[in-house]
Subunit: 201 residues, 2 copies
């Protein structure tokens, strides 16, 4: 039978298929595109970019953001309000909010949300460092900016319950987020409104 | 400003954005997924798969298919009918047809189709080796299996005009291909019918 791609190409197809939302057809399309249309030096760049990732980038030890140093550029910025923490599900959400440029506090990345269907519980999320900051009285406001999905709302509710025993104001980003929506796909105006309209839990 | 990804990550995002149909948001999603969820050895494999591509795979000197040797496994298969050539636009189409397992001749990959909007002319396509085979009396039937798009039909029409001066039967794959459809997304039965229902040009 000749209906198989050469091993090397199949290997690359498998790699692309490992990416989120990429099926067999799309993976084939990507791999064949790389082979047929990318220049040799572009492929080398691509390969190096993959290898450099974990060499050059780390997770910020304070907030969970990506960083080229131990502390990320936001956590090491002394002009920002370190007593105000905006809690997001993912680094992508952090960057989406940061692009708006309105927020001057710091962040905390949960790295997911509570999901019964995906089997993601509180122990799988980056919660403890946040609670420690609150316990140590380092925080005056926690803004919960998890997505408006079931998982995001569940996570926000859980964090509110967990944090209300401490002397900290807990708010939830609210207006403008359509139910079922994903923060990283929102426009800037909606995000600004959602941010301004936050209410106390 | 902190609204930029670290350079290494941005580089990877740019690489993903170079793939067909991948926009900024999707490229970010892919790159962050690689960073957050792929294991170190998976990333190394991915990187190596990219680098190995042009080392291990070549274009078959006879038909334009991908191959680990100078001649692809189809062209070097003596049990196949080398006097029947199925002409496709892309390697992906070749593999889609080959998976059906019905066809026992050989292939010819044009590597594109005539497109006025994209500025792709006959000189950009892999046509000459096909004509040479016909001229040398090596072929008894050419089956045109370009897509049922304007570009595919234009290319089929052009090839028919070009080849009718020679002593070769030129047919066009026909029934079952929905207008505007793409061969690589069709199911096997439709492909078999399209193949059986081919008519003489």
């Amino acid at each position: 039978m000749n209906n198989k791609y050469p091993d090397t190409l199949q290997k690359l197809i498998d790699c692309f298929e490992g990416l989120p939302g990429v099926g067999k057809k799309t993976a084939e399309r990507y791999a064949l595109y790389v082979f047929m249309h990318m220049k040799e030096e572009e492929i080398v760049d691509f390969s190096n970019a993959l290898l450099s990732l974990h060499k050059d980038i780390h997770i910020c030890s304070s907030c969970g953001n990506i960083s080229e140093h131990e502390l990320c550029s936001i956590c090491s910025d002394t002009t920002r309000n370190h007593r105000q923490i905006l809690v997001v599900e993912s680094i992508k959400d952090l960057f989406t909010l940061e692009r708006v440029g309105e927020y001057k506090g710091i962040y905390h990345v949960l790295n997911g949300s509570i999901s019964f269907t995906k089997g993601i519980g509180i122990d799988d999320l980056n919660i403890e460092p946040l609670v420690n900051k609150v316990k140590n009285n380092e925080v005056s406001e926690i803004i919960l900016a998890t997505n408006a999905t079931i998982e995001g709302e569940t996570t926000a509710k859980y964090l509110n319950e967990l944090l209300k025993q401490y002397d900290v104001k807990v708010t939830r980003i609210a207006h403008g987020l359509p139910v079922g929506g994903d923060i990283s796909y929102l426009d800037e105006m909606t995000l600004i409104k959602a941010f301004e309209g936050r209410r106390e839990y």
